[in-house]
Amino acid sequence: MRAVYGIVVREFVRFLRQRGRALSSVARPFVWLIFAGAGFAAVFAGRSEIDYRVYMAPGLLGMVVMFGSLLAALSTVIDRDAGVLRLMLVAPIRRGTVALGKTLGATLVGTAQAVVVAAILLPVVGLTPTPAGALLALVAVVLLGLALGAIGVVLAAGMRSIENFAGVMNFVVFPMLFLSGALYPVRHLGPVLHVLAHVNPLAYGVDLLKHALLTRWTDAGYGGELPIALDCAALALFALAGLAAAGPLLAREGGVARAAFRERR
């Protein structure tokens, strides 16, 4: 559909135009690799089965997609402030189409970042994926982008202003990251956190990425732990549920005339 295509193109052009955002999104995982990698490697020292930086690689790719897709989708809040959301809502398309366009745009932005990062990161840590592994990794990245993009649009639809951004970082992004298995296996966590990890889309994405990239270390306990089909199904479910919720939330009135009316009084 042409409108979806238009929204996706706009999203990508905006991303490319914001050089700082594009560069920092590519640099971020390497900062983690150097600093967090050094710290955790020291803690993990003595376990010779796997180099910690190799263990970290799938998680870092997941992190790239999380920041890329989630932040791109959260830009819907900026669209609201800038009036672009109004334009999309007054266009002869359904609200769900707007949500779908934003989600796919966010997926594309996150995937593009992950591909660029993977092209540098994997050689750096000395990981050479098999063709099948590379393909599965791409599937994981796209599915994770869809899930987080849809969730980002839902969060953005519920936010009144960009000021809630810090809250999202603290209560969504960081818990998601630390409960994802990106930095350490979550199976060692207590029961409550372990349960939380199961409602964390990033955990499924990272697990899928480990299936794709750490097959050699599966027996040592560092590969993917859940069935691949379950990971894919969970991510697809997050994406579909998010998309289903985002349309009506975006259409909710109050964002447009009502706020203007309140200011007047």
């Binding site: 409108a3 193109v9 052009v13 009036g83 672009v84 007054v90 002869p92 009135e253 447009v256």
Partner: protein, 250 residues
């Protein structure tokens, strides 16, 4: 088409306990230049957003270009252009990219949109700036680009919601020239909201709004005659005086 461009019957909207629009009965004819005049908070923008299906009516009904706003929002939105009070352009895109984006939202194929965009940019004097980011443009140019965006899909009814807010006199003048030319060329119905009385003077008919109701309706000449005054401004002040005194906003 014989149907009125806009036909509202008992249309109303409440925001919680506040009645923004009481019960609006209004018929705007095809190709009419209709002015919706009133102080801030009179319900002008609410009316536009109800007619554009951005809001759901609390009561009553309305049709735009023959389509019911409650039942067929997509058809209504396909038939109208809406220029909001605040710009809806993406500041990080060029004018041309903004128009292409809008064309796709309105489902225009690129090969059809291209020539239209070229023509509009020339007509609106934006041709030389087409590859410039919107953030680098003057307010008048942004407004012109907003309006170009609003008529790109050749709507039957164009809503202009306080289009001159924040523009300097020169930009204002060229905006009105532009709208006059558009109407002459296309027979477009224009629904203009404004709180500047002089902007309503060239309208075919004007509704003076006050606190969610129509306080007066007629041609500018009729309104002046009925009120026994010489200017539309006096009609405005006579019909909405208490509201101005209370709110004190500009």
């Amino acid at each position: 088409m014989t149907a009125a461009a806009i036909d509202a019957r008992g249309l109303g909207k409440d925001y919680g306990p506040v009645t923004a629009l009481d019960r609006l009965d209004l018929e705007v004819r095809d190709a009419e230049f209709f002015g919706f005049l009133g102080p801030n908070g009179a319900g002008k923008t609410t009316t536009v957003h109800l007619l554009a299906t951005l809001l759901t009516p609390s009561r009553g009904s309305a049709s735009v270009a023959g389509h019911d706003v409650r039942l067929d929002g997509l058809a209504v939105r396909r038939s109208i252009g809406l220029v909001f009070q605040e710009t809806t352009l993406d500041r990080d895109l060029t004018i041309e990219e903004n128009l292409r984006f809008a064309a796709r939202l309105w489902n225009l194929p690129d090969r059809e949109a291209g020539p239209r965009i070229d023509a509009l940019l020339r007509q609106f004097g934006l041709d030389e700036r087409r590859r410039d980011l919107v953030r680098t443009l003057s307010g008048g140019m942004r407004r012109a680009a907003d309006i170009a965006r609003g008529i790109l899909h050749q709507p039957r009814v164009l809503f202009l919601d306080e289009p001159t807010a924040g523009l300097d006199p020169r930009a204002r003048r060229s905006l009105w020239d532009l709208i006059r030319n558009l109407r002459a060329a296309s027979g477009l119905t224009v629904f203009l909201t404004t709180h500047y009385v002089e902007e309503a003077e060239p309208c075919d008919r004007v509704a003076v709004m006050d606190r969610g109701r129509i306080a007066a309706l007629g041609t500018p000449a009729e309104l002046k005659r009925a009120a026994g005054v010489a200017s539309l401004e006096e009609v405005f002040l006579a019909r909405t005086g208490h509201e101005l005194a209370e709110s004190g906003t500009t």
